[in-house]
Symmetry: C2
Subunit: 645 residues, 2 copies
């Protein structure tokens, strides 16, 4: 009898482990299918369904199969037990069953009308993995890769517009969605579909903030393949990257907004606390991410200076990978936002650390992050497809879904059109009407919106939000993602443009009005110029093997410290580097910056494959002023630095 | 009130997610420390504590801190609740607490004397992650990498001895440990430390099989750095790789061995069923792993033949990675042994698929697997250190631990010495006495023993086995791992040997007795030669771009099919390839094989870094007869094949 029980338990264990393998196998299978599909699409230049849409479709079909084909093996569950002694749900429950103590772990709250549908299909339960896996494992590589492969030159040309869309635009979008949803919720309460106390205005705002995270992975991939106008590409890319960060912090701030009394009434103190929270979290995360990158740069720089970490590219790559991930995790652990931290960590790593890596490690890290980004992205899209059928606590409310559909469109429109109008007042290079339409059309919802929604599905309003967000992702990815190519044709947006030629054409067309442009640039770039000078004089020499030695830039009395911190390779250049003083000359810098925009750039950006994105831009290795440094080197005659950058 | 509750729940959620980040952060921190330590050790040529020992030490210290410094935040747990209605522990428990339904998931059984110590420290619970993560995620890359980087030439020279140690040796070890432990268990029952029905002979055998998996990661790393005698290296590497596979299948077979009546009596039927199980599982896993590799080769070959998957190295790498992992998962899902499948998948991938990859993908896959192997290995060793203090259900029994210590030594001795004696009867090149001592000394227990033990900690005997196995890992890694370098000196084993020079020296010393050696080789190689002919004539042309076209090797009537399956590049060689017929000539082949052993081999194997291991051997790209092919090409005059191999 005792033996029998043990035997059964071993069998159960076996079953349990094979289950884990089956889940992973399903994902592997879906990913293999997706890769083969991508390969097929690439070969046949098929663009009406993108790989992400394809991954989602495969996930959906697989979810359908798992849901309706696999049997429910566990008869016991579905029964609700009563425990009078328990007052609240502890995270761990020890239960004495027939004189044996078993440990149970808390999973979630279940809405009453889902209890019956909760047939205890173990397969379905296994397929819906812990949302913290999204946040801690799948998202960081995607966001890091975005930061690491940022086209800095184009990004900084449009920085003002991008920041406006990302911060102001996301805030507008959040509030508009929140207001519209509140209207719909009121209507639902009126017709009795919802109870008053279940859905507050803050919940609507929460939904608004999570639905404001746009994810144009699909659109940008198509843009990249077609070589769409670089300004449009940069605006969309920059907006979506920063907008994710803003939406995440916003969601967090709203979720901890807690007015003292009536949750529907406006509480000024709590509101300002939330605004303060938002700013604090954003700044803190930014600082956290950058500091990790600086630490990585310092380690890789100062260790390699004295010894030879670069002889072990594996250790270097490992350190780089772990420290970047730690930036994310530390921010999360400190109550900040990991996504923001890892984004700016990526940008800073590309700027400093990348220059310190051995050539072998440079390639390794690039390929590693590309690969992880690729896998993580496709896993998320497959999972989104699966979740429609495998998640067991869906609450689909037609009115709420319809409301969300309306709200998302109205919010996107009231984000793009008014802001573009305002920006065009200040921009020399206007954002044309067809670009605005395209940006409006590219407001896809994807991984971030999904991840924010699935993060909390404990209560019923949250479950309804999750189900609705999931449907919005499906709708936008398939309809808008699929319609990108026709839309480009319809809006007569130029495709097949060499991004660098583009820059030259635009520069040439403006060279007539060069004089007044010069002043505009100089005005907008003053902060930038101070930063650049500081970066070039102190940070670059401290953190990388490039730039002048610190002994020449720091005051006399700092010499002993400076000598310790400077790279030996910089010493060799010390005599030649006397001409770096003219960096402080502002006009000179502006002049150089301006003229750099006219210099024909080698056509290294025109590669047609997605894989190439990461490589090109990092080669620039400079903050928006890539060409300037090249010129400085030409005047100073230090060809060996050029090969390092 | 309602709002307050929601607010609290949001706070809890926040806490919950940050916890996930904290755990991962701890691992990241440990890994970063380990990497910095490795770098330090490499720089100072410090060899008394290897990186794996270091990782374990850091884990131990961290575990100590987590255990005794962090507070127990959850007051509720530690209380055991009664539920009269429950008869057994369901995998999911729905509980109604104050009119809300909560979902709980089954974790484990807890021994009564651990209930009080089970203070519900959430941190500790989080740190002990699901053992299926070991099996499904951390182990596959390590084992795959072992197979992928197998030194085929040296491996096949010692194949007979390796198979003997791996199969016969592991079986001996398992039985000896089982018998000794049974003696100790009887003694424990006698003095009242254990109840009769708790520990059967099968449990002792189970413990024996899991303790038979040796893991000389530490030893081999040191051997590699010091360039220890290649034969010793190959014997240990081959033994440990195959021995893991054997031990895992053995453990599985024993766990499903279920005699009908008295569990202590010998049941012949059940025994033979277990033996059958063992053979079936091993063969099945081998077939599963090889087929996945063949499928990968076919896809990468036939897709690239018609189109251009190689233009997208990311897709190729992704496919390679996912299919290899699928081999593991499919085997697990089918009730076979994933480790065996992924091992042979790695060997086959290196033999066929590797040749089809684009140069970019070749490097990417190598670096990816190296990196994953490195990370996984260090995570496991850190985790082992952590587990000593964070695992909450340890049962340390001094007598049992002492018994295990004795048993492990006696078992290793009765494995190595008698088998070496037997093997020396048949071997031309004897295994010297000091090699035998070194092999005896290198019987470290590591990741596999730990993973097998942690896989099942549901019952109390299993918990005792786990705690004991963990201590054995600590002891062997620190004492034996640390003592490797002194032991090598003490045993006067040659170090600093160029592996290829070594081969030549040995070949030269034997060239006097060349005539009788020729016959010995020919005898032992007949199976091998048949396989080689088949491989070269049919498999290589079918699966890779090398070898003669199928149209020349298949019979006339197969021509239409053969034409379809042959690589276009092979067609070009069709006319020249008429001389491949002489492969069927056995004497010729043997002659070539023999002479190849005398040819001075370019010194490409002598690189001193661990990172290089993977690269060298795969470049051989052939099954033990690397030089033979080169020679054949020289006679046939096809230099372009050489560059492909």
């Amino acid at each position: 009898m005792e033996k029998l029980k043990e035997y059964v338990s071993v069998k159960d264990e076996d079953h349990f482990y094979h289950q884990g393998a089956v889940e992973l196998l399903i994902f592997n299978f879906l990913l293999i299918l997706t890769i083969l599909t991508i390969w097929l699409f690439k070969n046949h230049r098929f663009r009406f369904l993108h790989e992400t849409g394809g991954a989602m479709l495969y996930g959906l079909v697989m979810g359908l199969i798992i849901r309706y084909v696999t049997k429910s093996p566990d008869v016991e569950s579905g029964t609700v037990y009563e425990c009078e002694k328990l007052k609240s749900g502890p995270s761990t429950l020890l239960i004495n069953i027939t004189n044996q103590v078993y440990e149970y772990q808390y999973k979630r709250e279940i809405s009453h009308h889902n209890v019956n549908g909760h047939q205890g299909n173990a397969m379905l339960q296994k397929m819906t993995f812990d949302p913290s896996i999204f946040f801690n494992i799948l998202l960081p590589p995607i966001i890091f890769h975005a930061g690491y492969s940022l086209k800095k030159r184009h990004f900084f040309r449009n920085l003002g517009s991008i920041l406006t869309y990302a911060f102001l635009g996301t805030a507008i979008s959040c509030i508009v969605i929140g207001l519209i949803m509140y209207g719909f919720v009121k209507a639902m309460v009126h017709i009795g579909q919802l109870k008053e106390w279940e859905f507050h205005f803050t919940d609507c705002l929460f939904f608004g903030s999570l639905m404001s995270a746009t994810d144009p992975v699909t659109v940008l991939a198509i843009f990249h393949e077609l070589n769409v106008d670089t300004d449009l590409y940069t605006l969309l890319f920059g907006e979506s990257v920063l907008n994710d960060a803003v939406a995440i912090v916003l969601t967090h701030s709203i979720s901890i907004y807690s007015p003292k009394e009536n949750p529907n009434a406006f509480d000024a103190a709590a509101f300002f606390q939330s605004v303060g929270n938002f700013l604090g979290i954003f700044a803190g995360s930014f600082a956290m991410g950058s500091s990790y990158a600086v630490v990585t740069a310092l380690i890789s720089f100062h260790l390699t200076k004295f010894t030879k970490l670069c002889e072990f590219p594996m250790l270097e790559t490992g350190l780089f990978f772990l420290l970047s991930w730690s930036a994310f995790l530390s921010a999360e652990a400190a109550g900040l936002t990991g996504i923001v931290a890892v984004l700016f960590c990526g940008v800073t790593q590309a700027h400093y650390t990348y220059n310190n890596l051995s050539p072998d490690s440079k390639m390794r890290t690039k390929q590693l992050f590309e690969f992880m980004n690729f896998l993580a992205e496709n896993v998320i899209f497959c999972y989104m497809g699966l979740a429609l059928f495998t998640f067991q606590n869906h609450i689909f409310n037609p009115l709420f879904i319809f409301g969300a559909l309306v709200a998302v469109f109205v919010a996107r429109a009231s984000n793009i059109y008014p802001l573009s109008f305002l920006l065009n007042l200040g921009r020399k290079q206007k954002i044309p009407r067809n670009f605005q339409h395209m940006m409006m059309f590219s407001g896809l919802r994807g991984a971030i919106a999904f991840a924010l929604a699935i993060r909390d599905t404990a209560s019923q309003p949250k479950q309804m939000m999750f189900s609705t967000a999931l449907l919005m992702v499906f709708f936008t990815v398939w309809v808008f993602g699929g319609g990108t190519t026709p839309m480009l044709t319809w809006l007569q947006i130029r495709v097949g443009i060499d991004p660098d030629e583009d820059l030259n054409v635009k520069a040439a067309s403006q060279s007539a009005s060069n004089l007044d442009k010069n002043t505009t640039k100089a005005e907008s770039a003053w902060l930038f110029r101070i930063w650049y000078g500081f970066d070039h004089k102190y940070l670059k020499p401290l953190l990388t093997h490039t730039g002048p030695p610190l002994t020449s830039t720091l005051p006399e009395w700092c010499n002993p410290v400076a000598r310790l911190l400077t790279s030996p390779s910089a010493y060799g250049d010390q005599l030649k580097d006397s001409d770096t003083v003219y960096i402080i000359n502002n006009d000179e810098l502006t002049e150089n910056y301006e003229s750099s925009a006219h210099v024909p750039v080698p056509a290294q950006d025109s590669t047609g494959s997605i894989q190439a994105t990461g490589k090109e831009d990092i080669q620039e290795g400079d903050i928006g002023l890539g060409r300037y440094k090249l010129q400085l080197q030409q005047t100073a005659g230090q060809p060996q630095k050029n090969s390092l950058a």
